[in-house]
Symmetry: C2
Subunit: 716 residues, 2 copies
């Protein structure tokens, strides 16, 4: 086995073991008082019940898709190009890797949640004595999922590669056979993120509207029947959903980068340029640098500690910087080792710079997101100011901020794509521009495990705060968990910015891989997607429309599900007046059941839309002989629209949330004032934006890429 592959699998295995160690470390912490345990148990039960019902639904959708995939591949007429494996064989590989990807994605999502619903109470308990201890438990709990997700995606892709090599498949053909893996992962990620996102926000909006606004009781008050559903939602939406999302990102992007690597190496070979590490070395490069990134993330996670009186965010940032610097070094080592060639001595250095551009892009996204969502800065302050004149102006200001905040990320993406492309072009290798952008994407994803740890930190801290609140701990303790919670809100916003940025770069990578694949199956294909042609223009327009329609369906789904919750909470308050007096306990389970059923029902339509539309466009335009091109335009323009709409929804939602928090610090009359009520409306509107539609769009963008990648041979 190649050293690069051994190293990848080895690092991944080590990261898994380390995740296990962290999980054990988290579990051995104190799990609080009986009152706290009771709440945590209710959250855990609700989350597990939701996930098991959700996975059944997803499985029911996955199996027919796998069968269709098999049928389509098996029944198509083999063309020239990469069709040296027989139709049935190819069909088995594609459908099989699809199922494997789906299962792994499901496991990744489950793992994310498994730890978080156990780390929450331990974070809560530890916060009673030490902020540092609370911070560490929450972050290391999050890291279990972060490390697990990234390691498993490397193991999956690397493992498939090793197995296929052992079966005697030509190395450069392998990525085309395992594209199903990425599609399976995105398929499950879409439903996991969508279902979880609908769940979490339906519960949150429902709980807030009746609890805070109508009944006037505080957030996380145990008298609110929807409060447990709300806390469950943080886990199933943010942990399970995001886990599946990032798993598919890394999986799909690894495969895409391997396809581009193979093309690069083969082109170089045709020009008599040989890499010191060989063609396979170039193909393994993405896996190896990601493996280095894993090690960097482990170190970054372990250095995080805070003084009791310090800002916990500073500690998390320190860990991020350490991870980034180590990743940058690892990147250099990987480039020098695997991309060096005597005939183009400059090349590895240029690619290293591409990687650094990726790391810098990640950091730029983190800063831009902070600017638009933290109340230290102009945008959030503007929304808070507009709240003085009521909810309407608050909403208008928030939407303006959401639309405005798309500008800087787009500029950053533009610079990153163009500059890494030109570095690649001028590397001394032929047609290496696209590989340059791929390397930048790899760079951006280098810190993924750490970022995901920070992301999962959010719901754990949020839950810890909820448990402390509901078990009525002293004010002192609440302040500590509130600080952790506030940091969690920031990290959640950052990850979303990061996810969008990486999706944008990755889309370009996957798009190039798609064109390479079409070319592989149809050697006379000219990879030109000319939007001056009406069919291509229409394909693009339909792609952009898909983004809007999907967002509409996702947002409406939350509205509908929230409506059930509101009515249920009102019913309980009405039928049992003892609940509000605090003399009798509300029926939490009923609320959890209602949201579960509602969310699962509502996720079907938007999910099916995203999967069905590219297939329909491909097959219709195939009649005009432009199936592959129309789908490519759909994918590209859909990606552009997706980046913009998702950024608008994520940051707009985050800004509304923090405008409310800013007023709660005492500005414009503080808590309970009219501006505060207006800001609560904005916060509520932002909820389905930032936690349902926005994050689901990340998956949609990538699903569009993977689905077209898998179905490419059908559109030719």
């Amino acid at each position: 086995m190649e050293l690069g592959l051994t190293l990848t699998l080895g690092c991944s295995a080590f990261a898994l073991l380390f995740a296990g160690y962290l999980a054990k470390w988290v579990m051995k912490n104190d799990d609080g008082t009986p009152a706290m345990k009771e709440i945590a148990d209710a959250i855990r039960e609700g989350a597990e019940a939701f996930l098991s019902r959700q996975y059944k639904t997803i499985a029911a959708l996955t199996i027919p898709v796998a069968a269709i995939l098999y049928y389509l591949y098996a029944s198509r007429e083999p063309s020239a190009g990469h069709d040296q494996v027989s139709g049935a064989m190819l069909a088995t590989y594609v459908a099989g890797s699809f199922i494997l990807g789906a299962i792994c994605s499901g496991i990744a999502g489950y793992m994310g949640m498994f730890v978080s619903i156990r780390a929450n109470i331990r974070t809560a308990s530890a916060s009673r004595t030490s902020l540092n201890r609370g911070l560490q438990i929450a972050l290391r709990g999050g890291a279990v999922s972060g490390l697990f997700v990234v390691a498993m995606s490397l193991l999956g892709v690397g493992g498939l590669f090793a197995i296929m090599r052992a079966l005697g498949v030509e190395a450069t053909d392998i990525p085309f056979l395992i594209v199903g893996y990425g599609f399976g992962a995105s398929f499950v990620a879409l439903f996991a993120q969508l279902g979880g996102g609908i769940y979490t926000k339906a519960a949150d909006v429902g709980a807030d509207l009746v609890g805070k606004v109508e009944a006037g009781i505080p957030e996380d008050d145990p008298r609110n029947p929807a409060v447990i559903a709300d806390l469950v939602g943080d886990n199933v939406g943010d942990c399970a959903g995001r886990g599946a999302d990032l798993f598919e990102s890394t999986a799909a992007e690894n495969i895409g980068a391997m396809i581009l690597g193979a093309t690069l190496a083969l082109t170089a070979q045709a020009n008599k340029i040989t890499f010191a590490a060989g063609i396979i070395g170039v193909m393994l490069f993405p896996l190896v640098v990601r493996a280095f990134g894993l090690l960097a993330s482990i170190i970054g996670i372990m250095v995080v500690r805070t003084r009791e009186d310090a800002d916990p965010m500073a500690a998390l940032n320190r860990g991020y910087y350490v991870t980034t610097i180590l990743s940058a070094i690892g990147f250099g080592v990987g480039c020098k080792w695997l991309l060096a060639t005597e005939q183009a001595p400059q090349a590895w250095l240029n690619f290293w710079f591409c990687g650094l551009i990726g790391l810098a892009t990640a950091m730029a996204f983190v800063y831009i997101t902070q600017y638009y969502t933290e109340y230290k800065y102009r945008p959030v302050k503007e929304i808070a100011e507009a709240s003085q004149t009521g909810p309407a102006t608050n909403i208008i200001a928030g939407i303006a901020v959401g639309m405005e905040c798309t500008a800087l990320p787009v500029l950053v993406i533009a610079v990153a794509i163009i500059s890494s492309y030109y570095l690649g072009q001028n590397s001394g290798l032929e047609n290496a521009g696209l590989f340059g952008t791929a390397v930048a994407t790899m760079g951006m994803l280098g810190t993924a495990a750490y970022i995901l740890a920070m992301d999962t930190f959010g719901p754990i801290a949020d839950n810890a705060g909820g448990i402390i609140e509901m078990s009525q701990q002293p004010e002192e303790v609440r302040k500590k968990t509130d600080r952790l919670d506030a940091v969690g809100n920031t990290t959640k916003a950052l990850t979303k910015g990061y996810a969008i940025g990486s999706a944008a770069l990755a889309a370009f990578l996957l798009f190039s891989a798609y064109l390479d694949e079409v070319k592989a199956f149809k050697p006379d294909f000219i990879p030109v997607i000319d939007i001056a042609r009406p069919e291509i223009f229409v394909g693009g327009l339909l792609g952009a429309m898909l983004i809007f329609l999907f967002s509409a369906l996702a947002i409406r789904a939350v509205g509908k599900a929230a409506y059930y919750v509101i009515n249920e909470v009102r019913r309980q308050f009405k039928e049992n007046p003892g609940i509000l007096k605090g003399t009798s306990k509300p029926d939490y389970r009923q609320c959890v059941d209602i949201v579960t059923a509602g969310a699962l029902k509502q996720m079907i339509l938007p999910g099916v839309l995203v999967i069905g539309m590219p297939i329909a466009v491909g097959l219709i335009f195939k009649q005009f002989g432009l199936g592959a091109e129309a789908v490519a335009a759909m994918l590209m323009v859909g990606t552009m629209a997706g980046i913009l709409v998702a950024t608008m929804l994520n940051n707009g939602g985050g800004a509304w949330d923090n405008a409310k928090k800013y007023i709660e610090t005492g500005a414009y009359g503080g808590k309970g004032s009219d501006p505060h009520k207006a800001a609560v409306v904005g916060d509520t509107v932002g909820d389905p934006f930032k936690d349902t539609a926005g994050p689901s769009l990340h998956v949609v963008i990538k699903l569009l890429s993977t689905i077209t990648l898998v179905l490419a041979p059908l559109f030719i």
Copy 2:
């Protein structure tokens, strides 16, 4: 002079005369009681003051742009292709036609308003006795502007064509020399629509929030200091802005279609195919069918009459059907006359079908818009239902509807583009596909004069209602004007749908013209806009981003200006308690002044952005040798994003508005209930969407086309 040209100029002159006759007819109607006159005078004064200040600002922006245009053209090195005229000569033509277009656009906008601020009181006065009379005055008042705008655009383009011919310029070169006309028209239209749109909604939002929500007084109550500003806004935003907007649409699209016609005829000639009407006949085709459309619109307008107890909308629809049928016939005549050729006997019929597709597309847009914005149907009902749980769910539902309603229009556009393209392709002429889509656009715009008349009907009816309300006429009369007002709301929504549809088709037409022009200046240019290339992808992404950023700035501008109004109204209520008691008069003029200054200040930044960004992208990417292509991608993807965002904003806003109206009919508790209050919030949020950002985006889409068309030679 060619018969086609004579006919165009003749019909246009006739339409102008007829507009004059209608204006006289409107003016000789009774202009009401002294109380009504006082209000109407205040509206007129405010509107004229705004327009004169606005035009000064616009002039101050136009002159330097003309100078820069002259300089850029004069100083560039002449290339091959169409550069047979000297640099200085070309520069004079382009800059001169730019100024002419700007002036005509300004006049068109002024005319739209001139009649409406005089027809409003006459409609009000007539409604005291007869609904039919009121309807006719409002529609014919609107028709003055509709006929004037379309006729003047034909006169402008046709006249320039005639003059240049007389100067001895080759016919097929003329469109390239007068592209400045379209740019000048869009330039002024952008600022007219943007400034007017900011004005109207700042006043409306301000008046509503303090008046209806805080002080609890009804709409158009004379005690509200912002009420006159609100009524002024209807005129400057909807009449003056829309007039300039549609003027530039027709002007730009005529020029674009002439460019495509010239290309078609020259290609045919090269293939030894001759048209019976000659090359110039083909070029004049767009003008001739538009001239027929003018005549059809005149007849359509004159047949509108209603029974006193009938739905006035039915009468307006009848007029629309008459116009559509007559236009369809006129189209057939034009095709048979100007596009017939012996060598391709099928061609004229195919193009006629393209025209019919355009007319059908217009009608489809009208129906889709009705479905999404009238309260008979599901979407608006859904928003009203969601209002029961407060403003947050109302907003969420409204945004979902706004995003959803982009789907059907996009499908209609897709079908229209593809089918007219294929009809053109199979016409027997070479490369006639794009001309087919151009003919469909012409078909869609065939009814423009009638549609614009219906559009201007809206603010006239709205104003009439305001005058009746403020002069405290009996309930009986109010009911009549309320009915007219409700119809006006519908027609306003319809026109916006129509404008977006035509902008979408037209963008494709102008885009093709752009590629033809680049090719004319650089004969070796291959018109391929391959978004698989990073530079082109980035250009497209920046185009989409421009739409979001522009919308953000436009919406924020309203928020800011509304904030001034709110504070002013609150100040007046506080300092002079007699206002609310009805014992003393508020200071209307102060409010008008504040909105005027605010709107003009706030329109600069978004306007400059739209003009500056394509230039910047073109010049930057010119360094990579891809200036023309990157700008083309920016234009195309920007157009797609613009169609979607504008549709979302327009229909979302319309749906919110009517959800409120639906509740006011008694649903969910009716007026004054909590659901109604929630619906008022939604209505207010929708205001800047549907009346500022949305309509301005129509102009932005077309401005992107015309600006790139004019500056194309600079990016090569």
